[in-house]
Symmetry: C2
Subunit: 160 residues, 2 copies
């Protein structure tokens, strides 16, 4: 198998795998970058990534920062090399499932809290006059809060 064929295969893998990674909330470029790093064994510099993906160095800088913050890539130190070197975290499943579950739990929990504040606001004594409309809305709000609780349960289960 020739080098050009290998490169072709690698390209196909990048295209296809990055589609899956986009489902986890990564941008197209972040996804492609991660896959490229994942397929390359040596840690790479921003310039090398820029060259390989045909995108600006600035894009590499911001994308790698995102991946770094998500703990998907690691900065590597190599004696005598001045440039920053990055490599992909190899624990695909662990990394992505963790990120994903946390994202959901954080979001739903936060929104649930806000909804519960609204709930208390409605129930505060000085606004205690009862109306049919208010009761209806109250019931809906409870259902919505309960929905959030169920979603939280779902994602908590995913943690094992």
């Amino acid at each position: 198998m020739k080098d050009s064929q290998l490169e072709e295969v690698m390209n196909k893998m990048i295209i296809e795998f990055s589609k899956t990674l986009e489902l986890f909330g990564l941008t197209p470029l972040e996804s492609r970058l991660f896959v490229y790093l994942y397929l390359t064994d040596d840690p790479l510099t921003l310039d090398e990534m820029s060259e390989a993906l045909g995108k600006s160095k600035t894009s590499m800088s911001t994308s790698i920062r995102s991946l770094f913050d998500l703990n998907l890539v690691t900065r590597v130190w190599k004696k005598g090399v001045r440039k920053d070197l990055y490599e992909a975290n190899s624990q695909l499943y662990k990394s992505f499932s963790t990120i994903y579950i946390s994202k959901w739990l954080d979001s739903t929990n936060h929104h649930k809290d806000t909804l519960m504040e609204i709930r208390h606001e409605i129930d505060s004594p000085k606004k205690a006059a009862i109306s049919k409309e208010k009761e209806k809305l109250n019931k809906k709000l409870d259902e919505i809060i309960n929905f959030h609780v169920q979603i939280e349960g779902l994602f908590n289960n995913m943690k094992q």
Copy 2:
């Protein structure tokens, strides 16, 4: 509690709940529309939705179509009423978790299939010459396919 206050509360609920729904892949408008329908007991016409959300009727038409295709709203028939009437599906958890899990399973399964095709392509006899690079890429590909299998497992578990 005054009507204006109720409306205020309803507005807050729409804003907050729709944030959660966006996590499921709905656009902001689709989310707001669904929540509005969910909070309103009577089935509504496109004109009423347009009026209530302050968006064009065209937007309502396309958004409601999306929600309809996702099985999140139902078309309701009312004797003597010529306009289409829609109401929100009230089974929040069932609806959204089903949609979401299916979406993931469909996507990952499809991408996995494509990756496996690439796998076979590499292994085809006429390209059988072995190289170190090829072996490396092969191994990565297996890992990536395995990642997809694990993700599928994760979401299959969510179905109970």
